[in-house]
Symmetry: C2
Subunit: 252 residues, 2 copies
């Protein structure tokens, strides 16, 4: 398939005009060397990575596939990012800008936290492979992430939280949110005990009883319904429990 090496010596200085206008997606070998206008930058890489993920999922996000989407050789990416992890960081930071923090600008703290938490969970439920990345990511390298924390911190502060409790409270909420994002992707029948149901009567009964009360509607494969119930319960508990901390001092 790959044609056998000529075309390099041939046609010495065709200006090549404005790149590929032939409307076919990718053909048209580009010759080596720095192009007049740069083909890549971080924003473009981020956008291509996001689009690739939305089409093929995270298994489909390989450096080779990303390069192909950008019509570039894989090694070219390394002039702009140091590693694949670096690409994931770019994606992660972009996603943070999609999290809804608008509630913190007005209205009661409880409502703001709820809005923020639900949108945060929804964004990352579609991107669970990033969660291990976030958990270790220094905020310095992530301006959008930092911006989110600033807004949320201010919201907590304005709501009367003592300084030293703001970060732990946010971390606790975030932990719950990340864990809950995984739930959304779990299969609905994950708790079906099958053949060992006899030896686990309490659990089996609990599973059936919760499935019965929740699943009035359609039975999709994704465990959205169950996950939503658990998220709602946990979030209520956290909001009221953490909200009560605005006042006395215990955690120091």
């Amino acid at each position: 398939m790959l044609e056998t090496t000529n075309e390099r010596a041939a046609m010495p200085a065709v200006p090549a005009a404005t790149g590929r206008s032939t409307s076919n997606g990718s053909a048209q070998r580009r010759r080596a060397g720095r192009p007049s206008a740069a083909l890549l930058d971080k924003a473009g890489i981020t956008a291509a990575a996001l689009e690739l993920v939305s089409r093929k999922g995270y298994e489909g996000l390989t450096m080779a596939a990303l390069a192909k989407a950008l019509d570039v050789a894989p090694s070219a990416l390394y002039n702009h990012v140091a590693s694949k992890q670096d690409v994931l960081l770019l994606v992660e930071d972009h996603l943070m800008s999609l999290v809804d923090v608008s509630g913190f600008e007005a209205g009661p703290w409880e409502d703001a936290v709820r809005t923020w938490a639900w949108s945060y969970r929804d964004v990352f439920a579609e991107h669970t492979p990033l969660i291990p990345v976030i958990a270790v990511l220094p905020v310095t390298d992530a301006p959008q992430t930092l911006a989110m924390y600033e807004t949320v911190s201010k919201g907590f502060s304005d709501a009367g939280f003592p300084q030293e409790r703001i970060v732990p409270a946010i971390v606790a909420l975030e932990s719950f949110i990340f864990g809950s994002a995984y739930d959304v992707t779990a299969p609905e029948d994950i708790f079906e005990s099958g053949s060992m149901a006899d030896s686990t009567p309490h659990f089996t009964a609990a599973v059936h009883s919760s499935a019965a009360s929740g699943a009035a509607g359609q039975a999709g494969k994704e465990g959205g319904r169950q996950a939503d119930t658990a998220f709602s319960m946990g979030l209520d508990a956290l909001v009221s429990g953490l909200g009560a901390l605005r006042g006395r001092a215990e955690y120091l």
Copy 2:
């Protein structure tokens, strides 16, 4: 290095005695074909995987390394497990047996949940790469996991939880636990905003204030201290919030 193909025809039927007693770890080429006594089984594979992880971490857990630890060719593993994911499942289920559910057999529900949650978090803080695996793992394939759920479910039931709220409550707690396990592994300075500190005054102040109140002692690299504070706060909130659900009906 690899000696060049003889030894196959040579020495036709040396009994090979009881395998490798030469006390050197691994040398002594084994000849192909089924051995008299099986070298591998799931328990052995699980144990070797755990030991390998504790020595080299999860990056060190490769099928090749696992095979070498068991003094076996990599392909031999596939007679006992279908994939590497399968190995991770075995490890995961083994770890579940280390989670402390003893509190549910006697004493107040609140204490039992706290003991369970702390030990659950501590076990998986050392094994965060398994968390994505657990989240999707059907309990049928995981007897220890199922056993844990049975004990916990019974504890909730005995404490007066209505059937249909038991599973969501456990899921909410687990979500928080998994998310918190990641925190433990995060670097202590993850929230240092560095050069952009000026543009994030509230967050920067909150970070410094929580660091000041928590870190009276030694400054290790791992964020154990901060993570513990957040976990403690969140767990208190969840325990009191969820505990209050024993009675009225709202989540159906």
